[in-house]
């Protein structure tokens, strides 16, 4: 008998092709949406993490522990000493691709009678460009040369100071010995990242110039290391600690893999919470669409169910039949959805999605999160787990959807079922 029910269910779902196809599509589109959205959201989170890692954190960071402790007030004097020696030691460790020393200090900027406070970042221009394509963000003038008394400045900061390319800007700061020191720089370029913190406060200058301003010799506040396999950062950090043990001021150097970065440690769970909530809402909507369609499909067949009961079908048989029908539609729909959504997301993972085109340039400005700079093209992150998760979700929702009418049909007498016929 049970075997017959499977056969009957299969025939049933094809009796009304249009109805079945619609139900099918609801499940398939729902599952496809889930796969794509989850991949897309993972892509956003990866891109934000990646942006922060490249911009500020590195795969492994070398920093003076005191600097870390007082980071909020940017204490200039706590540095990683003797970069050349550190670089030499670090380069002996296998897997290290790039050594990127940075200096960061607050600075008073003066042009004519306009003064503003900014944050100067001293760095190696070609290195940083390799990493975050900073030169692509220079919208006026040119990018920095390796050394020279020149700087590039954020668009909004430039506007506040009323300066343009080729103007001279006076930088004043207290150096590591609390002397007040000033140098005049030439503005060679203006950058615009769309990330308002950078555009409002930052200026970049060559590392040696920053070292002159701070009178710190060949030291840096942070040395960002980039390695071939970021997942191995913790292990490589261990090797670097060993390699640096011979450094005369090894106590001034703390080695932090990105997984242990404080900022990232705060931001990543926050991001996961926010996007997790958004994903739950999407799941709810998809679930409701599937639920609604499935429910309608069964409810409009109560009349038919009444006939079956009158013909002598047992309650359990009717129940099983409804559930099997739902399972057919759910499984096939979800598989089709997976077959479409999976490859689509996988394909977009390769080609990327041009977010700026999708949202329009102006909109990026409003989201003050450090994503846009590196994520003008967003790469969704698709995985098999996402695919399986979405398919299982589709099938389960389809089954839950018919549970109510299936149970209801158990209690119905044939007469009642005749009467409840819905004319659709």
């Amino acid at each position: 008998m049970i075997k017959n029910i499977f056969k009957l269910s299969w025939r049933n779902i094809w009796r009304n092709k249009r109805r079945t196809v619609i139900t099918f599509l609801a499940v398939a589109v729902g599952v496809m949406t889930l796969i794509f959205m989850q991949s897309y959201i993972n892509g956003i989170m990866n891109s934000a993490t990646d942006a922060m890692v490249k911009l500020d954190i590195g795969h492994i960071k070398l920093v003076n522990p005191e600097y870390l402790r007082l980071k909020r007030i940017m204490p200039k004097e706590y540095m990683v000493p003797d970069i050349d020696r550190v670089t030499a030691a670090v380069n002996r460790v296998k897997g290290v691709d790039m050594v990127d020393p940075r200096i960061r200090f607050n600075v008073l900027l003066s042009h004519g009678n306009d003064n503003e406070i900014g944050i100067a970042v001293g760095m190696d221009p070609p290195l940083v460009d390799d990493n975050i394509q900073l030169s692509h963000q220079v919208t006026e003038g040119r990018y920095l040369e390796r050394d020279g008394r020149e700087l590039i400045i954020g668009r909004k900061l430039a506007e506040k100071l009323n300066v343009a390319v080729d103007d001279e800007l006076l930088l004043i700061t207290t150096d590591i010995n609390y002397s007040s020191y000033a140098l005049a720089f030439k503005i060679v370029g203006i950058f615009e990242t769309g990330y308002s913190y950078m555009d409002k406060y930052l200026l970049f200058l060559p590392l040696p110039q920053a070292q002159t301003m701070l009178d710190c010799g060949n030291a840096a506040h942070e040395v960002l290391l980039f390695i071939d396999d970021p997942e191995r950062a913790v292990a490589v950090a261990g090797e670097i600690r060993t390699a640096l043990a011979g450094h005369p001021q090894a106590g001034d150097i703390e080695v932090i893999p990105w997984q242990q970065d404080e900022l990232l440690g705060e931001l990543v769970p926050m991001m996961q919470d926010i996007w997790g909530a958004i994903m739950k809402i999407i799941m709810l909507i998809v679930g409701l669409v599937i639920l609604n369609t499935m429910l309608m499909t069964v409810m409009e067949r109560f009349h038919e169910i009444g006939v079956m009961k009158a013909l002598g079908f047992k309650n359990l048989e009717v129940f099983v039949m409804i559930m099997v029908e739902a399972a057919y539609i759910g499984v096939i729909g979800a598989l089709v959805g997976g077959a479409l959504g999976g490859p689509l997301s996988a394909w977009l993972e390769k080609t990327g999605i041009d977010v700026t085109k999708m949202l329009g340039e102006g909109l990026m400005e409003k989201f003050d999160i450090p994503i846009p700079m590196l994520a003008k093209i967003l790469y969704p992150d698709f995985s098999l787990a996402i695919l399986i998760h979405a398919i299982v979700f589709g099938v389960i929702v389809a089954l839950i959807a018919v549970l109510y009418p299936a149970i209801k049909s158990l209690r119905m007498s044939p007469v009642e079922a005749f009467r409840s016929e819905l004319k659709v």
Partner: protein, 250 residues
């Protein structure tokens, strides 16, 4: 009813007593403080000892001032600061940096920046050109002793909404009319700075603090001692001292 009358009478009596206490008006005290600070011209040689997170940095400078309105400072040491000159005329500060051979003009909120890495801000330096009495409402809160000297404890509340130090608690030497200790608060009630006068000199009937310590509470473990090693009042000031040209002079 009777009780209310009694209570009111008691309150009145209390008010009478407080009124009868031997306290000069708060406004009078402020005026006397302002008066004490008035001089014609002065030449100063001084040392700034900045202690921050267990480091000691000493800077020396000379200065000419005329009244409270104009002053000209020139730093002599350390080497990186040598030749840095500051010209202050009323509330505008101009700083000449020999390294850049440029002049920086500071005004407004940027005067709150640390002066030459010390706990003093440029504003703290220019502040004396303003009269306390004009900018603050004062109230005498009580009497306390500081280092054995009797003091009025005064509370000053700014008349202006945008004052950096919105309220001040000042311990004023009740005989010499000189603030011996001062706590400076932001409008939010946050303690910003604490100033103490550690040493006072008497020059021609005038009491003058020669060692002052200022602690910027927003900096970690930091204080700056300003020590006046030499002070000459009413000296002739060379012509053109308070000029931009003097700033640029090599």
């Amino acid at each position: 009813m009777k009780r209310t009358i009694l209570f009111t009478a008691l309150l009145g009596l209390l008010w009478l007593f407080t009124g009868a206490q031997d306290t000069p008006g708060a406004e009078d005290i402020l005026e006397k403080i302002d008066e004490n600070m008035v001089f014609d011209t002065a030449y100063v040689e001084a040392e700034m000892r900045i202690t921050i997170r267990n480091r000691l940095i000493t800077k020396t400078f000379t200065s000419f001032s005329q009244g409270n309105e104009k002053s000209f400072l020139e730093f002599l040491s350390p080497a990186r600061d040598r030749g840095t000159k500051i010209l202050k005329i009323e509330e505008i500060v101009q700083i000449y940096y020999p390294s850049a051979e440029r002049i920086l003009r500071l005004s407004g909120h940027l005067l709150r920046q640390s002066m030459m890495g010390s706990d003093f801000s440029y504003e703290d330096m220019t502040e004396r050109s303003k009269k306390l009495r004009e900018e603050y409402r004062a109230e005498v809160k009580g009497r306390e002793e500081i280092d054995g000297r009797p003091c009025w404890v005064m509370e000053l509340v700014s008349r202006l909404p945008k004052q950096t130090y919105f309220t001040r608690k000042v311990w004023v030497d009740s005989e010499r009319y000189l603030g011996l200790r001062e706590e400076l608060y932001a409008k939010s009630g946050k303690l910003l700075k604490v100033m103490t006068v550690d040493e006072i000199k008497t020059t021609r009937n005038r009491f003058y603090p020669v060692k002052v310590t200022l602690e910027d509470k927003l900096r970690e473990n930091s204080r700056t001692e300003m020590i006046i090693t030499r002070i000459d009042f009413d000296v002739p000031v060379p012509e053109g001292t308070f000029s931009e040209r003097n700033l640029m002079r090599k």
